[in-house]
Symmetry: C2
């Protein structure tokens, strides 16, 4: 049954990415192109703005502005870290009913999918025809049902470029360089650092992800082995690495770390890097040892964008709007991979409950046996997502 009456609303949630505005513009341009007569409203700061009626009419935004916004990092509508419970979703629903909203688009991660799911249930219970569409987004790449998620490819590209440049830096002034990459539970982004291995002996020489237990003594031994072999060592660690059965090291080290809206200690401070530097320094006092914590730069750096990522982010937005206007039931747009070479994907609308709440992890097959590196098989997975990297020239 095709629907064609009423208005739509679209929002962005969670941490921004370089391409989340592509998805926003994808939804808007497809909705507008179908000329339903309805309006598409943007939530200012996600559900937090929606419940206050803080909406902007996107139907009236010019094509030129839309194109500029699509190419701009971060969430142009503003984002929110609110994690709505049932009461909150009831409020969301009331605002939707008041504005004759019949299509609800929400761009975000697993928490966003979950709130979208609850909103759709509340509407159903009230016998109000509201179709809810979740559009995937997260640099963590941890959404279930998806081969990968929009935002990850560009962040992976940034991390790969950062490691390339940093490895060249560390060749020129040799030593141990530790880089802390975003990823509390999922190691995909840290694993993407191996894309930087585009020349002989290039780093990262060691990679540690949260999916494997971290052992500090083993780490120091690993670093010393690399120092003995090539006189230097570049290390990639996820901010979420942890000893067996313990909480993340970064959280344990930084008693004063600020807490996010979910009550989790932030891991983006320099404490983990400093701790690892001190461990290496104690064992190899003569080595030059440095650490950087990449922090928020990983997700919104203008100009370091994967074209594939940008295209797919646009496409999932368009497909959500197309599905909506074709009368499809509520769901989440998921990306499946059809083949690696040539790289091809297909899109599917899956049940909201399938992507909501739980997340996925870096599959064990990509982690080497010693749990200090990522297997080359991961390259076939990640390379097409990050796009062609800069070429490096070395002197002999």
């Amino acid at each position: 049954m095709a629907k064609s009456k009423g208005n739509a609303v679209v929002g962005q949630s969670g941490g921004p990415t370089c391409v989340i505005n592509q998805s926003l513009v994808g939804v808007v341009e497809e909705f507008v192109a179908r000329r339903t007569g309805g309006r598409i409203l943007g939530m200012r700061h996600g559900v937090a703005g929606l419940v206050k009626g803080n909406l902007i009419d996107l139907t009236r935004v010019s094509r030129k502005t839309l194109d500029l916004v699509a190419a701009t990092p971060s969430s142009a509508l503003g984002s929110s870290r609110d994690k709505p419970n049932r009461d909150y979703c009831q409020q969301i629903f009331e605002v939707c009913r008041k504005n004759d909203i019949r299509w609800y688009f929400y761009i975000g991660g697993n928490d966003s999918a979950d709130s979208a799911r609850i909103v759709s249930e509340v509407a159903r219970d009230a016998s109000y025809d509201l179709r809810v569409f979740h559009i995937p987004k997260t640099i963590d790449n941890d959404l279930r049902e998806n081969d990968h998620t929009p935002g990850f490819g560009s962040a992976a590209r940034w991390v790969a470029c950062a490691f390339m440049g940093d490895d060249l830096d560390n060749r020129s002034l040799p030593g141990v360089k530790i880089n802390v990459v975003m990823g509390r539970n999922a190691g995909f982004l840290t694993a993407a650092s191996i894309l930087a291995r585009t020349s002989k002996d290039a780093g990262p020489h060691l990679v540690y992800v949260p999916e494997a237990d971290f052992d500090e003594a083993r780490f120091v031994a690993d670093v010393q082995k690399s120092l003995a072999r090539i006189g230097r060592c570049q290390v990639a660690v996820s901010e979420g690495i942890h000893r067996k059965g313990e909480q993340p090291l970064a959280a344990m080290l930084d008693a004063n770390a600020p807490v996010d809206s979910h009550g989790n200690k932030l891991l983006t401070g320099g404490a983990l890097g400093a701790h690892l530097v001190n461990l290496v320094k104690a064992a190899a006092p003569k080595a030059r040892v440095r650490a950087d914590t990449f922090g928020y730069l990983q997700r919104c750096f203008p100009g370091v964008v994967s074209e594939t990522d940008a295209r797919e982010a646009r496409q999932v937005g368009r497909l959500a709007a197309r599905a909506a206007l074709a009368g499809k039931p509520s769901g989440s747009v998921a990306i499946r991979r059809v083949s690696d070479k040539p790289y091809r994907v297909a899109y599917e609308l899956v049940d909201l409950s399938k992507v909501a709440r739980d997340t996925r992890h870096l599959p064990p097959k990509f982690i080497n046996r010693a749990a200090n590196d990522i297997n080359d098989s991961f390259l076939a997975y990640v390379a097409p997502l990050a796009g062609k990297l800069p070429t490096v020239g070395l002197l002999g």
Copy 2:
């Protein structure tokens, strides 16, 4: 008197940049093009490699490799932090004499210029005809006699892009965001963050450089004012900010900070950012407050390069070789600005002693009276160096 016999040597020193290899290739290509019959040798890891005779014949490197190397960040020959004293320079001279080196090219900052100066004196005292040419390089932009230095423009571009993306991030999830930028004594790179103000209310909203005393209470008041005005605040601080008459805050905060080869405590840890976060948190407990320390990424990020910077870096290398083969006396190639609009520069060979040792600072005219911002007049200076930045689109 034109000289045309003997060999040349070229080295790279200090912290690498995105364009230091342009200067290297500039020297080599110009030397080779003059067909003197002599060879041009590269020092592996600067003077440290030179005194060990660790040299590579660059005359034999293919044009294709040179082109690739020129476009690659960091120091392809390897770098050194050695600060040669007179004895060390005597050793350098002996290796030069042994290899019939008649032209000595050294790419680096003020310390490199100083060692080049001493080498030229040692040679003169031995009545050995050695011409020494210093080629400017430093992201700190602190070389005397120069309007600006190769490496700075690309680092400024990187910092500007980082602030642009980070400000968009901070718009989407509003709060206080503090970014620590490289710069122990000179605030040029931190000041370059104001290039990011390409849209209404864009950050940075506050900028603190080492050339002005830092007052923590005033800083907190400044942040609160910005929060009250627009609900958020993006802050740029140099790693070298200090209270009146004191050493850098970062060094005071981090008792365990590693020390560099000059005995200075490294300021790249997260301690300064964490301290500033805590100050703001104490005064504004409800605000979302975060800090990032940009660290080493600022100087070698592939793909984020200013075209002007790359072109000028190439040119100073070429001009050094041209001066050398034209029989000019020892000196340092300096960049002078002829005009802002259109942007034009001229190059000059100045006496080594004029750029050696001492450095220059951000001129006071660029710092606002409250010492918490950079004046717009700085934009005319820095914009042509960083190049055209990505365009940002906002929704109303």
